[in-house]
Symmetry: C2
Subunit: 153 residues, 2 copies
DNA sequence: TCAAAGTCTACTAAATCGATGGACTAACTA
DNA sequence: TAGTTAGTCCATCGATTTAGTAGACTTTGA
């Protein structure tokens, strides 16, 4: 399970992607719209900023905004920032490899082999999904829902 | 990342699978062989037992053993027992679904759609990998390593 | 009956999670 | 330049989880 912090981060990013052309978004607005505790959200946004995903502007007219286009920010990036490596064991992480302290040969570790498969499958999905992709999916789902509604009338 | 507890559990299960025909295995032996703190291992084995994966025998000649053949115990089962649901968000869990408290429509939730993909990919691997499969992989890897060694002579 | 071996309850230290409060600083604007 | 707006930094908090440890208790086989 991902933490609430990570989930809030994803929600915030999707929200900022949706309002990409509107300039800086206030923490307060984001917190209200996505029902995230304001002070908690603040820490999340700082982390995303420190890792190059967001930028901010102080003072009146300030707020947070994506530092890149929604089509070049992925769920994988966000999750690694908030949650750490995607891998289930350190010895199969591509972005922050570490030897499993208690293990012998990696070549013949059965657990490692399985965990590597899981990591690769997960990373493929998360690194292949951009904020723009998610917006598109949401739009399609809403479209489909409206279609279903038409039939029910 | 999975917890050490879960990793210990997987190691213990693989070990018990390797010694499947040897009758009950002592906690002490398992702890020593796999370098797991004995008292900690005890709690892990109890959890696996309470969930039907292991059986035990008390007194002299006692110990722990798999309650089913290694080809019908999967990594997925073990990980769910130790770690909880495989899904990254409760609303996509098949084995212990729960509505995400802070979410609106599941049909149009972009985060959910991605997390569902990840869950399905992960579950496919973990539920498709039995202890017997892992033993076979290990044997193959050791075989390959010996082959490589021959070349290096 | 004795020793072997699992079982049960309790406890600990440290880290993480999910927040919250308040002082501080940068920037815009009247 | 004063005042307001809005992000920044720091500290704290209670609850839960993680990774273990200690010890008394019960079952079982010889």
């Amino acid at each position: 399970m991902i933490s609430k912090k990570t989930k809030y981060a994803l929600k915030a990013l999707v929200f900022l992607a949706r309002h990409y052309d509107r300039g800086p978004i206030l923490i307060a607005d984001l917190a209200r719209e996505e029902a995230i505790p304001k002070k908690f959200l603040e820490a999340i946004l700082v982390a995303l900023k420190n890792n190059g995903v967001l930028q901010s502007k102080k003072g009146k007219g300030g707020g947070y905004y994506l530092s890149r286009h929604p089509n070049s920010i992925t769920f994988g990036q966000a999750i690694r920032i908030m949650e750490g490596p995607i891998a289930l064991v350190p010895c199969v992480s591509e972005t922050s490899y570490a030897k499993c302290t208690e293990c012998g040969s990696e070549l013949t570790c059965g657990i490692r082999a399985v965990m590597k498969e899981v990591r690769d499958a997960t990373a493929k999905i998360l690194d292949g999904t951009t904020l723009a992709d998610v917006l598109e999916r949401i739009a399609n789902a809403e479209q489909a829902q409206r279609g279903a509604l038409d039939f029910s009338i």
